[in-house]
Symmetry: C2
Subunit: 196 residues, 2 copies
């Protein structure tokens, strides 16, 4: 059977977003990345910058700490939990049409669907450090630290909401080292797999 | 730069060995799987059946238990350690020529070499259970248990000798779900990547 949706999970700086956008462009289908943030903002009323952080990155404490905090609220939902619910519904909605979805646990949210191709993009830290400076510019924080912080918080967020481990090969249909394989070649492989 | 060597790590029953052999045949290069066992047998004098078990699967106890046992031997090498050393030397030797090497931590042994393409093949348990019965026949042990035992022991062996985690995407250049992608298509992708 054919594929309709591609989810792209990615290490920070690996070029996964760029790959997702290019695959979508070649296939002539939509790519959702910041567009999801726009829709969550519309539906929730929260600011986009807040959603960007809370919709993919765990708060700084560990998921156990957050579970305890949630129980301390007497089981009330945190803002992050509320955003998760809105974001999840939006992802289920946009995945009714062929598209590429970058990040936001879409692979897990759409699990069980045979027409979804789950991709994970990673690269070594040297490649990613150089790339984030080129793409996002320098900041006060060293590139290596920006990478490890973002990855850790994405992994924590993923673990908390999906109860599975981010970056373990068996959760994805294809994982690619974009630093070694090259972004262009990653796009070729994913495009070809989707069409096959 | 081009590739010379492909290492194929694989979950039990995923067809990784079959994929490796087919890739090698198409590329006209050697494929080493049981051939490594033959060479280790020649050099070490151990029986092939013993090497097959000890050269890729950890003993039943955990790696901590094995480390303690080693220290109880007063630091003497276990048979498994001796086989590791022989096997490692043989892998370094055969990797001087273009080839495919299946399993046996070859990815880690050859790490740092830019001309080595590291592949990991996995598939869901239903696919693998059906496949091992078809390929290896039935045994007294249920297929699901055969799969989880072999995977666990491969992971333990890998952890013990390489100090890295088996099956984590970032240790490989490409990971493929053979059940979803199909064995033939996996071969196409790897062949094409090697030639690129």
């Amino acid at each position: 059977m054919g594929y309709n949706v591609i989810t792209v999970s990615r290490q920070f700086g690996s070029g996964g977003r760029t790959i997702g956008k290019e695959v979508a462009a070649r296939l002539g289908i939509a790519c959702y990345d910041s567009e999801i943030i726009d829709r969550v903002a519309e539906e929730s009323g929260y600011a986009k910058s807040y959603i960007k952080e809370q919709g993919e990155y765990s708060e700084h404490r560990s998921w156990i700490g957050r579970a305890l905090a949630s129980s301390a609220r007497g089981g009330d939902l945190s803002n992050q939990d509320k955003l998760w619910i809105v974001q999840r519904r939006i992802i289920l909605d946009i995945a009714k049409e062929p598209c590429v979805i970058v990040g936001r646990c879409a692979d897990s949210i759409l699990s069980g669907r045979e027409d979804v191709l789950n991709v994970f993009i990673h690269a070594d830290k040297v490649f990613r450090a150089e790339r984030i400076v080129k793409v996002y510019g320098e900041t006060d924080v060293a590139p290596a630290k920006r990478i490890s912080d973002k990855d850790r918080r994405r992994a924590q967020y993923y673990k908390y909401y999906t109860d599975t481990k981010w970056g373990v090969a068996e959760h994805y249909h294809i994982c690619l080292d974009s630093g070694r394989v090259g972004l262009e070649k990653c796009v070729d492989i994913i495009e070809e797999l989707y069409r096959s």
